[in-house]
């Protein structure tokens, strides 16, 4: 990991963890409703279920693994990225987490690497540099054994 020596900062704070150990996958910052048990990503202050709307919620971390619900490959550079890998395009997926939330974020790999139902794991992906830091986004990579 060449980026291990440079500090990593999230593209937007409050959405995912940036582990100190670069070999560890990030987790998503989510919310659990203590009244009804529903989980949400990103975090929120009030449960969204019409029958609940409780303000009694707790910050939790979910992931790093989920299941691919749908995917595509976009043939345009990833907006806001100066990473050469993103110039030819990027995958996008909807990933279902065991706790409930479905999230849509970039995928690592090419179109033929993806199939619905496979297991993916979160990783941090460098978008650009900011001074001495690397600005990172969270994305999902297919777990080899699930193919």
């Amino acid at each position: 990991m060449t980026s291990a020596t440079r500090p990593r900062v999230p593209i937007k704070p409050g959405y995912f963890t940036v582990p100190d150990d670069p070999s560890q996958p990030p987790k998503l910052l989510a919310t659990k409703c203590n009244a009804c048990g529903e989980h949400y990503f990103p975090r929120r202050a009030i449960c969204a279920r019409a029958a609940c709307l409780s303000e009694d919620v707790t910050d939790v971390e979910i992931g790093p693994r989920g299941t691919l619900y749908s995917y595509t490959f976009v043939h345009m550079p990833l907006f806001g990225s100066s990473n050469l890998e993103h110039m030819d395009g990027y995958g996008v997926g909807q990933v279902d987490f065991p706790e409930g939330p479905r999230v849509q974020l970039p995928l690592a790999g090419k179109k033929d690497d993806f199939h619905i139902g496979q297991t993916l794991e979160a990783e941090l992906d460098k978008m650009r540099e900011d001074g001495n830091s690397d600005v990172v986004i969270v994305r999902f990579r297919p777990v080899e054994s699930s193919k």
């Binding site: 959405y15 907006f79 969270v138």
Partner: protein
């Protein structure tokens, strides 16, 4: 909705022009006033719809028509901006607050893109992803669940391009017939969506004059009255799996619920519709809306496309003016372009793309994947 009619409609052709908002909006507005047989002096209130222009643009643009002191309000609801503004005008007339209301939509999406380095806010994770990518996710899932092929999407796109070629206000007016092969060969944007399966960037304006239905007959005794018989706008109800970050593509229940509401209000069902306009920013949406609006049963869209059910002279023509794909989608005016098309069709004034004996039309728009607006128009 009681006793509300579309008195007049006007458009400034959608496209990559260089006319400022004020010019496009003035031309569309004056066309609508002339169409209604009214002067701006007769307008009691105005709702303006624009997504991209800066604060107060709506009020400033309205000064083009004259400074008569009327209330002017801006409405914004992403792609559904024009439709949402139209709904406010209808509600006001139905409530008896006003007799004649101008609904004016305009936008310069081309300027918005030029002003931003990448068309996005770099601090938002979801803005890193091209909108087509989100809609493509819907298409991939459909392929998995229902065996849809890219050719089904291409057939919808070809239909809309060919309808657009018959519409003088359409942005894309291909001089040669568009085939499935040509659509499939166009550049891939987000698999399986190609450029010809996606709406273009563009500018434009559109206007509708809404008023008391009895005025319609008085002003234009020679032509049929087009009534607004139902209107609804809904946001989403939470369901597990709801996506909070990025546009919510899918949101199927919202279109089902909103359409049920307008069918009930109008006292009609999907089988009664003579023509339909939908939010076909990407063709997969149009396919899904066939089922969600009840134009066919769930799982039957592909077979209906193969049969040509939604072609201009099919069972129930959809996107008769070319839809967002070919007529264009500048933003604010898009929903009003649907009203323009449906009004002309119901009057029998739609020229080469006229649907025979059209009596009832439905206009459906989505805003940011998170609101749904539907109107039903009916010829008296």
């Amino acid at each position: 909705m009681k006793d509300v009619a579309v008195l007049g409609v006007g458009m400034y052709r959608f496209g990559m022009g260089d006319a400022p908002n004020a010019v496009m909006a003035r031309e569309a507005g004056m066309m609508a006033l002339r169409d209604a047989g009214l002067s701006f002096r007769d307008v009691n209130a105005a709702y303006v719809g624009h997504i991209f222009a800066s604060v107060m643009t709506g009020v400033r643009v309205m000064k083009e028509f004259g400074l008569t002191g009327i209330p002017v309000q801006r409405i914004e609801n992403a792609s559904a901006t024009g439709s949402a503004a139209f709904r406010e005008a209808c509600l006001q007339v139905a409530a008896g607050h006003y007799d004649v209301v101008m609904v004016l939509g305009f936008d310069k999406m081309t300027t918005m893109i030029q002003q931003s380095t990448q068309g996005t806010a770099p601090e938002n994770m979801e803005d890193s992803i091209l909108p087509a990518g989100f809609f493509a996710l819907w298409a991939t899932r459909r392929m998995h669940e229902r065996g849809m092929k890219a050719e089904h999407l291409a057939k919808i796109a070809a239909k809309n391009w060919n309808n657009g070629a018959l519409n003088p206000m359409a942005q894309r007016q291909s001089t040669e017939p568009t085939t499935v092969e040509r659509v499939m060969k166009s550049r891939m944007v987000a698999w399986p969506l190609t450029t010809m399966m996606s709406c273009p960037m563009g500018d434009g304006a559109a206007c509708a004059i809404v008023g008391r239905a009895d005025l319609a007959k008085k002003l234009r005794p020679e032509r049929p009255v087009v009534r607004v018989v139902a209107s609804d706008l809904q946001s989403e109800k939470y369901v597990p799996g709801h996506i909070f970050m990025g546009p919510v593509v899918g949101a199927p229940q919202m279109t089902i619920d909103t359409s049920q509401k307008v069918y009930n209000e109008a006292g009609v069902g999907p089988q009664d519709l003579d023509l339909v306009q939908v939010h076909d920013a990407f063709v997969i949406e149009e396919l899904e809306y066939y089922e969600l609006l009840g134009l066919c049963k769930p799982g039957e869209a592909e077979a209906c496309i193969e049969r040509g059910d939604f072609e201009l002279h099919g069972r129930v023509p959809v996107s008769t003016d070319g839809g967002l794909i070919a007529r264009g989608h500048p933003g604010g005016p898009t929903g009003l372009a649907q009203i323009w098309e449906t009004t002309l069709q119901l009057r029998g004034e739609a020229g080469k793309r006229q649907v025979k004996d059209a009596r009832i039309g439905l206009c459906h728009m989505m805003g940011g994947g998170s609101v749904c607006v539907i109107h039903i128009l009916q010829r008296e």
